[in-house]
Symmetry: C2
Subunit: 299 residues, 2 copies
């Protein structure tokens, strides 16, 4: 075991991703499990983590663990500090309480914005990753996910951001509402998606009626389960774009996300004639955590 | 056992309400359980019903059971017929398959509307109840609930209706989303509700961001759990009112619902200077089912 190895964690609401890296940031091993913070009590985090990484550890050295995500929320392992926008992604790490002598766990700070009130935990680390190659970047970043974030970056600082519940709404509606009978979350229809984005942007106030209409159209109309799924996604993303226009209008947008969801946002933004760049969320998270690791060690 | 007795059922998504009545419509007994259609397979409905009403039955006579609600949906006991709007609430009952010789189960027809596609199951029986006292009524009816219906009635006919997912959205968000940590569904704040109705009607496109903001305002602001609950309700009802304006603007509205939820709709509508009447949903359901029972028996 190389004493230079360290461990990166992205511990979100529904998933835990772990990576073993060397000091150059090369991935030596990685794991993924669905033990998200959502179903864990604070005193359960260390045990779940050790199950994932036990064979990466040894008693000769203390392995540093750098973490970001919802594990730092009030319902997480321990509430980590917040930086306050406008600010650059921060470096004031919070140590998590551990009883195992082999690990030393540090959680990256979230970012809060007082007016309008908003918070992020995890996305700031992806933004830090994006900024490692261009510290004085000026751009708008869209981070699709459970809680999609729109972030304005001026000279490398996060000056403003807004969170949309889009992904969580999609999940609840697709899997737990009456609509679950009407749609197939594994199927897709680009044209149905695009029409729904258009309709929702033009009439955002109709969303609650449009949602029930998906049910009615599959019952008494000829809407397919694939089209219903794409329409649901399109209605919700269109609603988000209707309200995030001050972020994307006339701007180049960098989308940081997983590939499939990013592609849907990309499609919707191209319909608004917005130029986009895409970056992979996992890559940006690892770059951001690597930066935090270097800073922790004075590098 | 009086052979004139009959049984009324309101079998919705999450609840089953049963009443034993005499031929004059007087309630002799009633029960309530949470075995809604949501978790039942078609072949389980008869058994669940018999558990509720077994002691109301005898082998000397066949007891008529008149039912309305989601038990008549495609995922219910048996898919009952639809009338097609514009129409009066219908009388073409669908018989449910039963193996017990003591009961004869009839399900009231739902109503469908082709353009825009929409469906109702249960609310048409409440409207029928309202119409028993005024067969040529002209009014707009609002039926708050899981799937809130707005119904335009001209000369006793349902000419147009629209369904909003408002109640189901509230339930999913309050109990299953990240907002569950931020609000207390048993607490309330009238002023927070009213502000949220105003904000949502003025900027309906902001709903997805406003929802996440409830979380942020309880984390880093001073929003109480009671105010967060009332704000969630107000945002969703305001969104509904923003899109149902063509129903309520300049009209007198009859609200049929359970008392607490009706009061919230009443408050929001009064803010729009709309005059309202209120009727109890259970009373209207029983009036509607009693009418169906009389018609079935040629009375």
């Amino acid at each position: 075991m190389n004493t230079d190895t360290w461990i990166a964690l992205d511990w979100g609401t529904s998933h835990l991703r772990t990576w073993l890296l060397n000091s150059s940031g090369e991935i030596l091993d990685q794991r993924h499990c669905d033990q998200g913070m959502n179903n864990l009590q604070p005193d359960q985090f260390e045990g779940v983590l050790l199950e994932q990484i036990d064979d990466w550890l040894n008693f000769e050295t203390i392995t540093q663990v750098l973490a970001c995500g919802m594990l730092g929320s009030r319902q997480g392992w321990i509430e980590a500090s917040y930086d306050s926008a406008p600010c650059a992604p921060g470096t004031l790490l919070t140590k998590a309480p551990v009883s195992d002598p082999r690990i030393d766990v540090h959680i990256c700070p979230g970012i809060k914005q007082l007016a309008p009130a908003d918070v992020m935990r995890g996305e700031e680390t992806q933004v830090a990753g994006l900024l490692t190659d261009a510290a004085d970047l000026n751009t708008v970043v869209c981070l699709p996910g459970t809680h999609c974030k729109w972030v304005r970056i001026v000279d490398g600082k996060i000056t403003e951001f807004q969170t949309f519940l889009t992904g969580e709404l999609y999940g609840l509606l697709a899997k737990q509402s009456v609509l679950r009978h009407s749609l197939d979350t594994t199927a897709w229809d680009d044209q149905a998606f695009k029409s729904a984005v258009d309709e929702s942007m033009a009439q955002p106030q109709s969303i609650s009626a449009q949602l029930f209409s998906l049910r009615a159209q599959t019952l008494i109309g000829d809407l397919s389960a694939a089209a219903a799924n794409a329409r649901l996604s399109g209605l919700l993303i269109g609603l988000e774009l209707a309200n995030s226009k001050n972020f994307w209008s006339g701007q180049q947008v960098t989308i940081i996300g997983e590939s499939r969801l990013s592609e849907h946002y990309n499609l919707a933004l191209q319909m608004q004639s917005v130029t986009t760049l895409q970056a992979n969320s996992e890559t940006m998270t690892l770059k951001g955590l690597s930066l935090a690791h270097r800073q922790l060690n004075g590098a």
